[in-house]
Subunit: 307 residues, 4 copies
């Protein structure tokens, strides 16, 4: 794929202006009340699965991405009898962390290209002193919809895709067929590669990169189906190193900048894959609310799937 | 109320051992699959309401609680062409914050009394170097259930309760009657005082204290109904200064230590009250997932109600 | 003073290129071995005076400067028997703080004007992802020289200058005369206004602004004397609000950008003033080493004067 | 050495009560005005050498000591035209760091043994909510004295001591002889092993441990000479793993708890060794001021030696 081809795709998937020039949330506009109602209607057993990895110094980050530090949790009070000896005692804590250190959403403003962020706004609307003035993560009011697991690893008959596997539309469709459902407008699509198994097994370096991930061919597929958001079980979301030399973070640019579609990374899809197989059902209600950090370009998230 | 009376209540609401000696999550055991299924069935319109206040330096904390700092958000990259000139650019950020600075859940270990935390464990299971070894917030796997708004302010015909109003069981029942529903096992009960209006109007000092809040008479009421968790729109949860001199954080101690019931504070219930009135419905699906900070005694939360 | 006049001053005090095009430390080049030798020779009694204010949440910042947070100190271990029960126990701590929150040095890169920082380098050599690539504070190898206290308040016969007092060269010269010494090349000049008394008395709001401070007329005076660095006992260094409407941080710009001269703020000069009076001596050895934060535009400093 | 022998040493070096029951600074009492005067008199050339390692994410910590994080520096403003377009622009930054992450002083309260800290105070004077109520690092008013380099590596004719080399008094005396000076009361003694070369060469893991360092035989030697403070070029100060199995941090306990003597770690003594050799002089004025973090059990320090 040459740069012109990238630009062609960018043009085809572009959503700038689609929801008005003031829009700051992109494809989340596709999650209508009706979509949410239908999502809630998928709940049949009440079984729940949590998708976040624990937040601690033993988290996912290894120093590869400068400054994106694992959560440092420290206590500011431990059994402190604040009101005097013999009174009830309080414990309290603080944390310092990279907002994208663990299981997280990229905000639309996580990426700019050629000086622009989503909806044609200048990239310099992001500044160090106030963060993202537009499309900061706090602008996402809620994020709950139908979730669909596309278990690409399972569709390939493996536990974990090899590191050089670029997930292409045919993979997504094979996973759809395995799931027996069709991705539709407003869905949050979770693409499982199995890469998270490395992290869970304690292999942080192996987990990071090289890694399987989405191909630059996928954004058009999501665009055609009017997907609301996509998350994966990898650090980089897209295949890394990139499938085409020098085509850095092309999927990021297409999703975040052109489509205005949130991306999730480091989601633990292993227990979800088990649950889906056991329930024989790959759709569920998915709640994955961003924490409303003002001006932030990402946020930790603790998603929960309900069957 | 004398200390002996407090101890009598403590005895009556105590849940230690109720779910086994290994239990770390308390009343959340009451949120069964069946409860969640029924909660999802309350969704009729798909309307959503978010309940978290924005996370920023202009947050709720005023320095009253030492070390509980408002979120400090800073950028570690702004439109950084990480892979060389002309490549896509990334923005990334970090945060330092008190885990209980904004809209949050207290973990069960936020409070100890007489050397014990929930389920009869010694308080010194909480240490500065690893936080809460048991009943840290990461032990709460998921938190989604039926939510019920008890709009006590509205039941009293006011926008906001006066600062010296201790919410008693009769208030809760008046709000139930207004709502036309009954609180039942596994519910997450949201008690509205209207105090959040002060914060939303920019009056941070007024918001903090004195403040209306729950009376020490309420825990038995929640216990009798097998409530799973309770949240309010105030800083201190319970009336503050306390209704009985020297009875510091008595409700905290009863809920967290004796009952093992999570508490939420600083929830923005104003838009929820409007939605409930408009929908003529005070029950909804409520998702309020804790972020899994390992060993933490609290967590920010971004709750969402779905009608 | 009109803008052209400012530009005239800027031209007269400009040191760009004076120590070569590669220079990153500006007037600190004036602190030669000989200067330091002479500074050490001023020591006669061995009396020492420390000039930093304590670092804590009760520090100088009040929220006026967004993000410049007071130090948040928290423990990551308290008497932790790391090697097993009965072994020696360790206590350890972390801090989050604005580098310019307390007693500090501005790095030369703290200010840019018209797109440039000191020595004619483009301002965009400062980036969020690596800070100041040139003239970061870590480039200052050492900062120890002769210190001179110019006690302007005392020279005016007051404890504390009024808030609208712009310290002009005549004030500096009156203080020199009071001190009985002449400022010379390589000196670190400490200008006392007495404003720190407000902070020490617990009046943080009063301390901040309005505040007396240096006039835009001073930089030429320091330039003529080849001063190495200047510090004061105020938050803003220069008079604030500025003496000429709209002339924001003019002294900062002249010192940091044009001259390449470090500035210190929030220095506690009260005990020093007492010592100088008692010793009848306004010169001393001054050690005020920056902490070598890589890429930083400021640093906490714990200065010590030795008589 | 058996535990009784350790207790015998502890008894012999114990300084509790030596400077009164209220004392919080221990052997720093030995740095009298006279000592400082003499220290200043050692300055002959004005040559300066800085001893701190740079503070950044690429710092010394590797995760070995939980929570002791390398400095995370981030910008809260970059060339921000705070007062409107065209005005001077400011850059500002914040940091989160372990206070003992880089070149640092241990406060006396960094270690407790058998429930006590220096001067017989109970260890529980250190609490998570306020840190060290006594002997916090802010109690050290100033730290400037004569410095003496004991270049043990050089005295052994090597660049760097092997990892299993426990520095014993005979080593210190050989280095004294090499230096041609005698350690005396009030000195700050810097013991060079050469271990820092590993860190400087980029080998962070090798630098940490195993490491050469002080033997448990040294404290008596320092005690006899009335040394004021000791610093080294290693992570652990004392040999690690310890020379006697199970004798964890014995030197720490003797210095900090029994003697009340500050310890410095991670000091870069390489350039100092070169300077001493070139100057043929192993004494110098040493300024090593702690940052006054209230209640802290350690502090970053940027020491400077002046010849």
């Amino acid at each position: 794929m040459a740069a012109p081809e990238f630009l062609d795709i960018a043009k085809r998937v572009n959503n700038w202006g689609r929801w008005g020039s003031d829009d700051e949330i992109g494809t989340l506009n596709l999650v209508t009340d009706e979509v949410v109602r239908a999502a809630a209607a998928t709940v049949r057993t009440g079984r729940r699965v949590a998708l976040a990895v624990p937040l601690s110094q033993q988290g996912i980050q290894t120093g590869l991405i400068p400054g994106r530090v694992n959560p440092l949790h420290s206590m500011i009070a431990v059994n402190w009898e604040m009101f005097g000896p013999g009174t009830v005692a309080t414990s309290d804590d603080v944390v310092t962390m990279g907002l994208q250190a663990g299981t997280h959403w990229d905000a639309l403003t996580h990426i700019s290209r050629a000086g622009f962020v989503y909806n044609g706004r200048p990239a310099d609307t992001i500044t160090p002193h106030r963060g993202a003035a537009v499309s900061g993560i706090e602008k996402i009011p809620y994020l709950i919809s139908r979730g669909v697991l596309l278990d690409v690893a399972k569709a390939h008959g493996v536990d974990r895709l090899p590191a050089d596997h670029a997930v292409v539309p045919a993979d997504l469709e094979a996973a759809e067929e395995l799931a027996g459902i069709e991705v539709r407008a407003g869905d949050i699509v979770l693409v499982r590669t199995g890469q998270m198994q490395l992290f869970l097994a304690g292999n942080r370096d192996g987990y990071g990169m090289p890694t399987p991930g989405l191909s630059v061919r996928c954004p058009e597929w999501f665009h055609a189906r009017n997907v609301a958001a996509v998350a994966t079980d990898t650090l980089t979301f897209e295949i890394f190193p990139p499938e085409i030399e020098g085509m850095w973070l092309a999927v990021h640019a297409l999703h975040l900048v052109e489509m205005g579609m949130l991306q999730g990374q480091n989601w633990n899809l292993e227990p979800l894959a088990i649950a889906c197989a056991e329930e024989s059902r790959y759709e569920f209600l998915l709640s994955a609310m961003p924490e409303p950090f003002v001006g932030a370009t990402g946020t930790p998230v603790a998603p929960v799937a309900v069957f």
